[in-house]
Symmetry: C2
């Protein structure tokens, strides 16, 4: 790659690059001298189940590795080893060395799905922060001033509203900044919400006789709902450790975001170059690829990273087959099918000798609290299929196709009946 | 002494006692349990020539020793060992261990003129601050918050006026406070300008499972000019290491303060009890003792502390004799003598066979830059004695007594001529 291509690849999808000219200089120098850059990223020492939101940052680390650079995955165990320094909280006891090591293994298991293990150094900041010494702490604290620290938005808000900020909270950004000194980082990556902290590292390095690191941030990923930040608690996530078929199914079927969010996913969740993404946009705009085609491609690319080419292909096949059946069924004789299948709950069944237990279907859809309540609703005349009241608890579909189930006046579902296999 | 008498003795002359009730409780408990209190005082690690201003605090330490308590003289070498933590200043290099030990000896030599050596522990705060460890620093910093630290007046003023406060400056009051934790101090003494820092120690101790120390401050001593704080640079000081006669002479002759300042000196620079000081005030008010009598007594008490009873008595005799000669001379035939002799420079000479070298006298008074310049002024007719122009460089006084010397139109001195001895 030329320097321009490297620059484009590395800055793809980034929110902040402080500063681009310095990154170019560092890349150019590395190429000229045959050296590699040290790229630092910090992670907290608790062990999360990583989801796609986390992979945006991890993928950016990989991009540097793709160009031969060395990534240091810093586990911020220093603060974890201290726990709650005020000693007031019983719920934040210090982590033991064993717990931190176990969490590091959990991290490795997940991040090495994306990162190249042989170009990744996993390190622990207690190694240098724990031995910094009294003089080291004073010198570190001398490198930054109170007014600048209070420019960090959360500090400023608390300060202005009279909520206390303990002085050790000022030490943590400095400690994190010192990680860059200890590692002689060329580049630090982080989420866009970390920009202030990353810049502290940049600011203090020259005082230690080092060239300031370049700071690069990646955006927070929007969840499958297309609205909120992806997070486990919001339920709008795809987990790194989920089975390949689940990953593909969630991306193809559960995604509710706009086209813009889909392109963000391409940018942030794949290694496609900006040019390759533009090509897809053009095909989509020209009607040569459907939104469904693009989601399948995206899903396959993501699943490949975590589970390999074959598993991803199998997962895509499975989901595509099920999907094709549904689409075929939904566009069958019943007509008036919503364009977005996923907007209405769908129950897929196969034509068989046995009639369908309607009470069970209604209860499974959570349209009734139980099968027996569903039975009462059918008997009371409150259930219709394709506009016809159904009074028989056991329903025999007239053939394959899509049928509209109405329970009461508002609860609607699709019954998709596939032909016998 | 009763508890009340102890309390009165210890709080004599103090500006702040936080809190008196706690001091009583501690004194009472010490008496009941047969234990002694630990009284901490911090000093900076540079080696000053101590003057009377410093002795106010040292004397308050002695008062605790007089009642059997244990005083810890803490040399704050921790910061001295670091020097300028920003590394920017070439003028504040770190002190070496040898330099700090040498400074400690200088301190001891001076303070043991007042303190009881056997009830004084000299300690160095690097002993516990140097080994506090990263976790210790974070826990310490967690004990205090930013808003409270900014209540310290100098911090607040700098913050409000946009002058930077480096974050390590917030660590120093905490480090000093931690001295009280390490020493399990019952009482901390300091100058009134240290009240904030002393209270930080008080505030953090309960978090370390200790009873809060009592904080007591003593006032800053006004200098001999009666206006500014006593300091070497202002020239209004009496040094602890000066010869006894100089000490007495400065207090008797150079003091320009009001009666109020004189009583402050009695309170702050002697061990007289409040009752004994009241007795002297009454005698002075009744005209039974003159201001001069009181200054001589004060001077003798001060000199005794530093140089012993005999040396103090000899110094007082010497100054008193010289003083008597001047007063006698000054009130001689020349009349119109200012009431306050010391308001005008005075040159004392003795009648002798030799005429007086006027040029030399004028130069010694610094009324001219040199004797030769004084000679030019005399020859130009710019010098008068008792209103008469003097053109002769060698002046023969007509007899003993006081004469007014006028050089130019503004420089006035008294020539006091004593009879031959």
């Amino acid at each position: 790659m030329t320097l321009d291509e490297q620059f484009a690849y590395l800055t793809k999808g980034c929110v902040d690059v402080v500063r681009g000219t310095e990154l170019r200089t560092k890349l150019d120098r590395a190429a000229t001298t045959g050296t590699v850059l040290t790229v630092k990223v910090g992670f907290d020492p608790t062990a999360p189940d990583l989801h796609l939101g986390h992979t945006v940052l991890i993928r950016k680390m990989k991009h540097f590795q793709d160009l031969g650079h060395r990534v240091v995955f810093v586990i911020g165990d220093f603060t974890g080893l201290i726990g709650d320094p005020t000693g007031r909280s019983k719920t934040r006891p210090p982590l033991s060395r064993d717990e931190i090591e176990a969490n590091a293994e959990t991290y490795k298991h997940q991040v090495f799905k994306i990162l190249h293990p042989d170009r990744t150094v996993v390190d622990f900041n207690s190694r240098w922060l724990g031995t910094l010494g009294s003089e080291g702490w004073v010198r570190l604290a001398a490198r930054y001033n109170v007014a600048r620290m209070l420019e960090r938005r959360d500090f400023r808000q608390r300060f202005d509203s009279g909520q206390p900020i303990a002085i050790h909270e000022f030490l943590y950004p400095l400690a994190q900044a010192y990680d860059s000194v200890a590692l002689r980082a060329d580049v630090e990556l982080g989420g866009t919400d970390q920009l202030f902290n990353l810049n502290v590292g940049r600011d203090i390095m020259p005082g230690y006789g080092l060239e300031a690191q370049v700071v690069m941030t990646v955006p927070l990923l929007v969840g499958l709902d297309g609205v909120d930040k992806m997070s486990k608690s919001a339920g709008n996530y795809v987990g790194v450790n989920e089975p390949a078929e689940t990953i593909v199914r969630k991306i193809v079927e559960d995604f509710r975001g706009s086209d813009g969010v889909m392109w963000d996913y391409f940018t942030l969740l794949t290694d496609l170059t900006p040019v390759e993404i533009e090509q897809r946009k053009a095909r989509f705009a020209a009607g040569e690829a459907s939104a469904s085609d693009l989601r399948f491609e995206l899903a396959e690319l993501v699943a490949r990273d975590f589970d390999g080419v074959e598993a991803a292909a199998r997962a895509v096949d499975a989901v595509r087959t099920r999907h094709a059946v549904r689409v075929a069924a939904a566009t069958g004789p019943a007509g008036d099918v919503p364009a977005d299948l996923s907007g209405v709950p769908t129950v897929g069944v196969t034509l068989a000798a046995e009639p369908i237990n309607l009470s069970r279907v209604i209860a499974d859809l959570r349209f009734a609290a139980s099968a027996s309540e569903a039975t009462r609703q059918i008997k009371a005349g409150g259930v219709k299929i394709d506009g016809e009241r159904v009074l028989d608890l056991r329903w025999v579909p007239p053939g394959s196709g899509s049928y509209t189930l109405l329970v009461g006046t508002k609860k609607v579902a699709r019954l998709v009946v596939a032909p016998p296999s």
